[in-house]
């Protein structure tokens, strides 16, 4: 025990001063296009460093500047201030135009996650085409979540860190209007009374999937 605490003291003693740690995370965040977790940073820093504390300082330092330290899920990144976007017309990345179906599906996954395909179909009232999900997976805006503990153990979808990064969200809890929707009960999983066409459970899903014609082939 005595030894262990000695070690701890020693490692605290060895950790660089916080100002130096701030420089380190500044360099790492500047160098990376992808968000870094505090763990990623700690692994690269000298033993005993505390990137979380250094981040508090760094964040403050960049307040109101041309670039900002932003939180993306459980990671951190430096991004330019949105009000200066007009200066970066040359850096603008053309994002693939998403179909209405894909945009709606994405919104449903973001607000209802973790959500199964059947649940998405119930909300949209139409079968989800494979292409829509594939496209969102390929863009790395959604990924598979844990399976639902319901019959058939269906897979679920959740949004990714890339999604949060793209839309400038700290977490999925910061989605616009989330609180209001929840208060209005619109995010409740309200099962339909009795049986209804199209909007039922998994059986309906199968039905609609096997029904020819009506799916998202109507996408533009």
């Amino acid at each position: 025990m005595a030894e262990a605490s000695d070690e701890k003291e020693q490692s605290l003693f060895q950790a660089p001063p916080i100002g130096e740690q701030e420089r380190m995370i500044e360099a790492m965040l500047f160098a990376s296009a992808e968000p870094l977790t505090t763990r990623d940073m700690a692994e690269r820093m000298p033993h005993g460093s505390d990137p979380a504390e250094a981040l508090v300082h760094l964040r403050k330092r960049y307040e109101g500047r041309g670039v900002r330290v932003v939180k993306v899920g459980d990671a951190w990144a430096i991004r330019t201030a949105p009000d200066l976007g007009y200066l970066m017309s040359r850096e603008t990345v053309e994002t693939r135009k998403l179909s209405r179906a894909a945009i709606e599906t994405l919104a449903i996954i973001a607000y209802h996650q973790p959500v199964t395909r059947a649940e998405i179909e119930e909300i949209r009232g139409v079968a989800v085409s494979r292409g829509t999900v594939d496209q969102l997976l390929e863009m790395e805006w959604i990924r598979f979540g844990r399976r639902k503990m319901t019959p058939g153990r269906p897979v679920t979808f959740v949004v990714t860190q890339e999604f949060l990064d793209h839309f400038g969200l700290e977490s999925a809890r910061d989605l616009p209007g989330l609180k209001e929707l929840r208060a209005a009960g619109l995010l409740d999983n309200r099962p339909p009374p009795g049986t209804m066409p199209q909007m039922g459970g998994e059986e309906d899903e199968n039905e609609s999937e096997s029904a020819p014609g009506q799916n998202e082939l109507f996408e533009d």
Binding site: E91, T92, I123, R124, G125, V126, L181
Partner: protein, 262 residues
């Protein structure tokens, strides 16, 4: 199926209204399923979706399906399934409840449909708000020249004492276990060597180490190398005897060199 009030509604009061109605029909492919169509129809009621008249909506939907049929437009199956369900819902809403009947009441079903429409509308609004946010690569930007973390890979090899001992034991006991076979494959005969040398001697205008005449595949393995060296040397002597070549060696253990004799 056609309602009186539907007929009234659809009686073309003016051309614009009629065109709008037809546009709705013709655009059936533009709808993402019956729920989407219902949502669009509900907008004509111009009320909060919570206060929507599901009965009225059912009438509008059924009228739409009738019109589509009249225009011989093919509707996908789920539009028709929805039509049947709405007709059932309408009858439930219009008739006094039958206490003997099981299942949800017309009001419950109507409330759920209203909920679904409201939820779908809410999701559409959310989607629009989401897409309208400041976005990475459009409004704010990541580092233009990311410096990738260089991954230096260092490989260390390891082995245990057991590996070592088993390795040694394997070698030392290999011969004990060998079945008796003639190792013909490690043999390069003098006949073979002579044939090979006769073919090559014509090119040996300058002094060349006879070891360079060893055939391919007989240089690495010591046993094969030994056999090939001996037979090649013997073949070289044979060539000298025939008067076709000369041999020389500078000193003991020095390379033995061969040259064509013209």
């Amino acid at each position: 199926m056609v309602e009186d009030d539907f007929d009234r509604d659809e009686t073309p009061v003016n051309v614009a209204e009629r065109l709008a109605a037809e546009a709705l029909i013709v655009d059936v492919d533009g709808f993402e399923g019956p729920l989407d169509l219902l949502l669009t129809l509900s907008r004509t009621q111009k009320v909060d979706l919570r206060k929507i008249s599901v009965l009225e909506l059912a009438r509008q939907y059924l009228a739409f399906v009738e019109r589509a049929k009249a225009l011989r437009l093919e509707l996908a199956a789920d539009y028709l399934v929805m039509a049947a369900w709405l007709a059932f819902l309408k009858s439930r809403l219009l008739l006094p409840p039958d206490p003997s009947e099981e299942g949800p009441s017309g009001e419950e079903l109507a409330a759920h449909l209203a909920f679904q429409l409201e939820r779908l509308q809410a999701m559409r609004d959310c989607a629009a708000r989401l897409m309208g946010r400041d976005r990475l690569g459009r409004d704010f930007f990541a580092r233009g020249v990311p410096e990738d973390v260089a991954r230096l890979r260092r490989v260390t090899y390891t082995a245990t004492l057991l590996d070592l001992m088993q390795g040694y034991a394997r070698i030392r006991t290999r011969d004990e276990f060998r079945p008796f076979v003639m190792d013909r494959d490690a043999l390069f005969t003098m006949e073979q060597a002579l044939e090979r040398m006769r073919g090559l001697i014509g090119y040996a205008g300058t002094w060349t180490d006879i070891l360079s005449y060893l055939p391919e595949g007989f240089t690495a393995d010591p046993a094969r190398r030994r056999s090939a060296t001996a037979s090649t040397f013997a073949a070289a002597l044979e060539l000298v005897k025939e008067g076709r070549a000369e041999l020389r060696q500078a000193e003991v253990f020095a390379p033995i060199e061969l040259r064509r004799r013209d």
